[in-house]
């Protein structure tokens, strides 16, 4: 990848975030280019979720700046935040599903708020639920789902909108190795179609095997930012030893623009 092709989609500059006297993040600097896949690794309480929250601007830095596409944290108006969020898919660590809505409605919500058409929503949501293996649970409510199922609904919602950027906070925390592999496969596929992915995880072993860029966070500081050493379709790096029974669900996923629009460049609509 040549420097000329690179466009920075996430930029974090001299960022600190403190809660009272406690610094959850301190002097963070990092940049993520379009199409990059970055792991954010660190022990519990290192500040991974806090960093992601600052990127989707649910929280703002104490000092420093976050730049996401055209949006700059220091010049952000409250009314433009929704348009940032529509370009950023988010898998929350605690899922954040709406208990009173079915699986289908939860996933559809992310598309509905952008003003997408009913038929497009229906097609896309059906498709994505099939891919995460939950089509048969589409009329169930989140409280009756297993932990792993809830996590997959959260992932489906995050990618439903074909976002330009995907932030995933511990997206495989409740998943068994087989499903973990299929979810990673899905994330890689989304990435291969041009979405920049920033995935927080504590599973160093899982992450190391891909030889991908890894940012190590410890006690609120970046202790190491391993440069990307592998370029290409990450799916080739998935361990073959574990045979995925559910891998078939994910076959044929193509996010690269045969749908109604180019997911990567989708801007705010009204």
């Amino acid at each position: 990848m040549k420097a000329a092709e690179k466009r920075i989609v996430i930029g974090v500059y001299h960022l600190s975030r403190s809660f009272g006297k406690y610094f959850a993040l301190q002097d963070i600097n990092l940049q993520v280019a379009n199409g990059e896949f970055v792991f954010l690794v660190g022990p519990s309480g290192a500040g991974k979720s806090t960093l992601l929250r600052l990127i989707y601007m649910d929280d703002f830095p104490t000092t420093g700046q976050v730049v996401v596409g055209p949006y700059v944290s220091t010049r952000m108006k409250r009314s433009t935040i929704p348009f940032l969020r529509r370009r950023v898919g988010i898998v929350f660590q605690n899922f954040r599903l709406i208990d009173e809505r079915t699986v289908f409605e939860n996933v559809a919500l992310a598309m509905k708020v952008t003003g997408a058409g009913m038929s497009e929503i229906k097609r896309q949501v059906t498709d994505i639920l099939a891919r995460v293996g939950l089509y048969h649970k589409r009329y169930d409510y989140p409280p009756v789902l297993s932990g792993g199922e809830q996590q997959r609904v959260a992932i489906a919602r995050a990618v439903a909108n074909r976002p330009a950027i995907l932030l995933a906070d511990e997206p495989t925390g409740n998943l068994d190795p087989v499903v973990t592999k299929s979810i990673l496969e899905l994330l890689f596929k989304v990435n291969a179609a041009g979405t920049a992915v920033l995935m927080a995880t504590h599973d160093i072993d899982l992450v190391r095997s891909f030889g991908q860029r890894i940012i190590y966070l410890e006690e609120g500081r970046i202790v190491r930012d391993k440069e990307m050493i592998f370029v290409g379709d990450l799916r080739e790096r998935l361990p073959d030893s574990k045979v995925s029974r559910r891998a078939d669900d994910l076959e044929g996923y193509d996010i690269s623009g045969e749908g109604s629009g180019n997911g990567v460049e989708r801007g705010p609509r009204e």
């Binding site: 989707y56 649910d58 409250r78 009314s79 935040i81 929704p82 348009f83 940032l84 969020r85 529509r86 950023v88 988010i90 929350f92 954040r96 599903l97 709406i98 208990d99 009173e100 809505r101 409605e105 919500l109 992310a110 509905k112 708020v113 952008t114 003003g115 997408a116 058409g117 009913m118 919602r157 909108n161 009204e270």
Partner: protein, 289 residues
């Protein structure tokens, strides 16, 4: 806002009312019963002021004629009275008839009249005014004017009673207004806070919507429409119960009147706005991130 947005808003609103039926019904019933107090109060006030109005209509001005007046002079006075501003009806009562009526009015004390040797009462005209002119100031002016006419000995209009009645009615309306204001404010407060409790209980869903990129308007509108619908259902509940109370009441009190249809429609619209406003103010707190 495009067609999809409209459809989204409508489907969201319907979804919201459909789920959580339980607590929706609770709030509607809370609101409905609060409103019932308000409409019962309005109905009672309406009927009492009808009674006051009826009493006021009974009020007459008495024009006493000089003794032994020629009939044509008396008739000229009657015509002149009928031509005066605000006079609706003029009835002639002869001195004999007047005495008979007085005797009757004295009731148990009527034997006092037995000591009378001749009829001391004059002929009179009983004048009925337009109800809105039955005020001590207007009647005072009219009385002194008519007293100046030829053949008119005196004009009486029950000044003391009228003034006393006016004070009483004014007192009633002040008390009524105070109670009404208290009820009104309480009911508004109860309703807007009931809606607020509902919104608070959905805080989690609101947060999620914000996080997936819904604009404030997109989040608010379904809630506001839901608040409005709750208001309408509550108003219908209150009006329905009021009809029952009214039907029950007419069995004991004849002549009871009901709120007129325009007022009922206005009330329902008012409740819709109230519910919407309750949602709106409750939402604002959350949406300020």
């Amino acid at each position: 806002m495009n067609v999809n947005a409209m459809r989204y808003l409508i489907s969201e609103s319907v979804l919201m009312l459909g789920r959580r039926k339980g607590s929706n019904i609770i709030s509607i019933v809370i609101m409905g019963l609060s409103l019932l107090i308000l409409v019962v109060f309005l109905l009672v006030t309406l009927n009492i002021s009808r009674i006051i109005e009826a009493t006021r209509e009974e009020h007459r001005v008495y024009v006493y004629l000089e003794d032994g007046l020629a009939q044509n002079v008396s008739q000229a006075i009657q015509l002149r009275l009928l031509g005066s501003e605000g006079i609706e009806e003029v009835i002639f009562i002869s001195k004999e008839e007047a005495l008979a009526r007085f005797r009757e009015a004295l009731g148990e004390n009527r034997d006092i009249l037995e000591a009378l040797e001749e009829n001391p009462l004059p002929d009179e005209y009983r004048v009925k005014l337009r109800p809105e002119l039955i005020r001590s100031d207007f009647m005072g002016r009219m009385a002194s004017e008519i007293e100046g006419w030829d053949g008119v000995e005196e004009v009486r209009y029950g000044r003391r009673w009228l003034e006393r009645g006016e004070t009483l009615v004014r007192g009633f309306y002040i008390v009524d207004l105070c109670i009404g204001a208290i009820i009104f404010l309480s009911v508004i407060f109860v309703i807007s806070n009931t809606v607020r409790l509902m919104v608070i209980s959905r805080r989690k869903a609101i947060d999620v919507m914000k996080l997936v990129g819904a604009t404030n308007a997109y989040i608010q509108v379904p809630f506001i429409m839901e608040g409005a619908l709750q208001g309408i259902f509550a108003a219908l509940l209150a009006v329905g119960l009021l009809v029952l109370i009214y039907l029950f009441g007419t069995r004991y009190l004849s002549g009871l009147v009901f709120l007129d249809p325009g007022a009922v429609v206005g009330f329902i619209v008012f409740c819709a706005l109230l519910g919407a406003l309750g949602s709106f103010t409750a939402m604002r707190r959350f949406l300020k991130m």
